[in-house]
């Protein structure tokens, strides 16, 4: 008998290769399209970061890196990593793949809009890369793109590059809005029978809340982008005050640069958590699965995700302590910033308590999850320094800040992304990767991360400024800084090269890896219970699954196995048919 959970809508099955893999409306194909594009773009940004390191480690040795190139590398690296890699990969990639599978749906609620979302994202990437080839090259104004500097002569890409960047961001926002609408509506509407909100795995919670935040935060970037384009092209004065550039008045009057900063950071700070919350969710699941133990304090974990998401809209001006702000505002924003430490600390303690006396299997996804705990705690603690106005002022715009945000929102989510790829790769491809290569990749990446970013805190304490092409002969900068910079560059080279192991492993395993078990980790959540591996279009075969329990029934006393899948009925029920509607 068909129950209300049996979705009888006919799925539109594509008949041609192009329909199946290019103009696909299947969430899994779109997820892979998003993921591959994002990782490809991220690889480009990784190369840029290594070029920056070459310049910083060995200043003047590389003729092809001129000051304006260096600024362009800084800008493109930052923007790509934050927006085009992490946001797109965690929400467009993992969000698309995991949401329908984890909540027991056949697809996203609006598959066509979902497809459009990817193609708009690809268009934004193409526009971004087209910006490399316009006269003057891409913008070099820093990823924050503050006017008037970005659109005034003397800054690389002030005429064309900034327009391409802003246009690309505008298109990205449209793409994200289409995707985010899908993720939110799908979670709200398409959960299978028995999948209550509090039975959803934390991964879905993280992606869900991050999607809502993205929908609310990205409009600020959109408005800022349009207004900057108007200031630059039409000559309006939204952001640009009366200035003299190269001895001539630009014709602008009265604009407010601070206004741009408010708009940018109203997007920019939630953006940090848009990247972090999916990572929080995913890492919760990895730790629970590989420690064979239920997630400690599941409800607290969910509430903390929601509270962090809400609070993050009230802290944006902590990026503007040195912009000239009323001290009372500084007090407010410092307080709200530090308050976020409470739900965040709850999460960290709960991860540790999940590990406590667990049956820990140190498989590669678990290694990355534990590594995340290290880097995240580390980056979170330096965040306490920078959240205080009086401590932030001397550290502002130094390498301390670079070390802090790379630890907390650069490396930490990337480690989770690696863990998540290793974790779900068998489900996505049906093959298993090579264990030894993966372990080698992990250790070089994890230790290399510390070799790169730990010394940066020391440099920042000495006052070494960020975004400088070269330090030159400066009194307050001792020789040790140069040695440290050299060391960082060498470590960065090693980590950069080690990523080759990852790509080789992934591509080789795709064709030659051994066939994977449908549920190699013994995970309880729904995505591992699909009838096919990799799941077919429609995910669930004839009938949608019914969910009887939460996603964390590991090592349940008296159970036959050390995990109970979410769709396994409790013993009292008729095991074959399940309850009748």
């Amino acid at each position: 008998m068909a129950t209300i959970a049996d979705d009888l809508r006919p799925l539109h099955h594509p008949k041609t290769w192009i329909g199946r893999y290019v103009w696909s409306q299947d969430h899994k194909v779109i997820a892979i399209q998003y993921g591959v594009t994002a990782i490809g773009v991220g690889l480009f940004a990784l190369v840029l970061s290594f070029l920056m390191r070459l310049q910083l480690g060995f200043p003047g040795r590389f003729d092809f890196i001129q000051p304006e190139n260096y600024l362009q590398f800084v800008t493109m690296h930052g923007m790509i990593m934050v927006v085009y890699l992490l946001t797109a990969l965690l929400l467009g990639g993992f969000g698309n793949y995991l949401i329908p599978l984890m909540i027991g749906a056949r697809d996203m609620v609006f598959p066509f809009v979902n497809m459009l979302s990817y193609w708009f994202y690809l268009l934004s990437v193409i526009v971004l890369f087209a910006g490399l080839f316009v006269p003057g090259g891409p913008t070099g104004g820093g990823w924050t793109l503050y006017p008037p500097q970005t659109i005034t002569g003397g800054t690389p890409g002030a005429s064309w590059g900034i327009l391409m960047m802003m246009a690309s961001l505008g298109i990205f926002v449209i793409a994200f809005t289409m995707g985010g609408l899908n993720y939110v509506t799908t979670v709200l509407q398409a959960r299978t029978r028995g999948m209550t909100l509090m039975r959803m795995p934390c991964s879905v919670w993280g992606i869900f809340v991050a999607s809502i935040m993205g929908l609310l935060a990205f409009p600020a970037l959109f408005v800022a982008a349009i207004m900057t384009i108007l200031d630059s092209v039409v000559g309006t004065s939204f952001f640009v005050p009366e200035i003299v550039s190269m001895g001539e008045k630009t014709g602008h009057t009265g604009g407010s640069p601070i206004l741009f900063q408010h708009l940018f950071w109203f997007f920019g700070h939630p953006e940090v958590y848009i990247v972090a919350l999916p990572a929080f969710g995913i890492v919760s699941d990895l730790i629970s699965v590989h420690a064979r133990k239920n997630l400690f304090g599941y409800r607290m974990m969910v509430w903390a995700i929601v509270i962090i998401g809400g609070l993050s809209f009230f802290v944006w001006a902590h990026h503007m302590y040195v912009s000239g702000m009323n001290p009372y505002f500084g007090f407010f924003f410092a307080t709200s910033t530090l308050v976020i430490a409470i739900p965040t600390a709850i999460k960290v303690y709960n991860w540790l308590l999940t590990l406590w006396r667990g049956d820990i299997h140190l498989r590669v996804p678990m290694l990355f999850a534990i590594a995340f705990l290290f880097t995240f705690i580390h980056g979170g603690l330096t965040g306490l320094f920078l959240g205080n106005v009086s401590v932030d002022v001397p550290l502002s715009d130094t390498f301390f800040v670079v070390g802090h945000f790379h630890m907390v929102m650069g490396v930490s989510p990337v480690l989770v992304v690696f863990g998540a790829i290793y974790h779900w790769y068998p489900k996505i491809t049906g093959r298993m990767w090579d264990e030894r290569l993966a372990r080698l990749h992990f250790w070089i990446t994890f230790l290399g991360t510390y070799a790169i970013f730990l010394p940066m805190h020391y440099l920042g304490m000495l006052g070494v400024p960020r975004r400088y092409y070269a330090l030159g002969d400066t009194v307050f900068i001792p020789d040790s800084v140069h040695y440290a910079n050299m060391g960082i560059t060498i470590a960065a080279g090693l980590v950069f090269a080690a990523q080759g192991l990852f790509f080789y492993n992934m591509i080789w395993s795709l064709f030659r890896g051994p066939r994977a078990d449908p549920n190699p980790w013994g995970a309880a959540s729904l995505e591992w219970q699909t009838p096919d591996t990799p799941p077919h279009h429609g995910n669930w075969g004839e009938r949608l699954p019914t969910v009887y329990r939460w996603a964390y029934d590991y090592s349940v006393p008296g159970a036959a196995r050390d995990f109970i899948p979410q769709n396994e009925p409790p013993p009292a029920q008729n095991p074959a048919g399940g309850p009748q509607a």
Partner: protein
């Protein structure tokens, strides 16, 4: 309260089928079910609210009304030509027409609903045309013509509208609103086409079409409210 109950569930205590999730009976005609579209529209309207709130905040901050962010002292308020009120009336009338269409669609008269929808669409187009006339009038100010709309001190200022922050914001915000109205008109045209094709004998087809009209009406009401708020901002400053 239902939300609080849902979020305080202790999922580890209660293995069993649990209360059913809101997935509802199958609807074969379209990929997305209408109530999904309703939720999707609500979420989208939230995004639109943010967009216009942010632009309005930027407007107020640029005016210099915000502590610590005094603008450049170059703010000259724009006037209020009668056309502004006429356009607002057109938009409200369009909203009424959409509600008439909704009533007829619910009463099972898709053809007459389609006629009311077409009227609403025409009124919407008239609103957009009226906005374009406003734009022209404002541009005229900077070409030296005197009109009710012109900023008090704008006459003879050669820099043009781009040099006048109030005018620039008016173009930006009303332009963004106009684009949303045009998008709504496309949705309305698609719904009109659906109403024309509906088989009056089929209850499912009729209710499906009525739901689509309902979403149109909801979107239109919302954009009319947004315009009222924006009008309040323009008129009061």
């Amino acid at each position: 309260m239902r939300l609080i109950a849902a979020l305080t569930e202790k999922p580890w205590l209660t293995p069993g089928p649990g209360p059913s999730a809101p997935s509802a009976p199958a609807e074969s005609e379209s990929a997305a079910r209408p109530w999904d579209k309703g939720v999707g529209l609500t979420v989208f309207l939230l995004v639109v609210t943010l967009l216009f709130t942010l632009m309005s905040s930027a407007y107020v901050m640029r005016m210099g009304g915000h502590a610590g962010h005094a603008g450049g002292g170059d703010w000259r308020p724009i006037g209020e030509p009668p056309l502004l009120w006429l356009n607002t009336g057109l938009l409200a009338a369009a909203s009424l027409a959409f509600h008439a269409a909704l009533g007829r669609a619910r009463a099972g008269r898709p053809r007459r609903a389609g006629a009311a929808l077409a009227l609403g669409g025409a009124l919407g187009l008239a609103f957009v045309a009226g906005q374009l006339l406003l734009w022209r009038a404002l541009a005229g100010c900077f070409a030296g013509e005197a009109a009710a709309f012109c900023p008090a001190a704008a006459h003879g200022i050669p820099r043009g509208w781009a040099g006048d922050p109030a005018a620039a914001f008016f173009y930006l915000i009303s332009g963004a609103h106009g684009l949303h109205i045009l998008g709504g008109l496309v949705a309305c045209a698609l719904t009109g086409g659906r109403l024309a094709r509906v088989d009056p004998g089929s209850l499912a087809a009729r209710t499906g079409a009525a739901r689509a009209v309902q979403l149109c009406a909801r979107y239109w009401d919302f954009m009319a409210l947004v315009w009222l708020a924006l009008m309040g901002l323009f008129v009061s400053t």
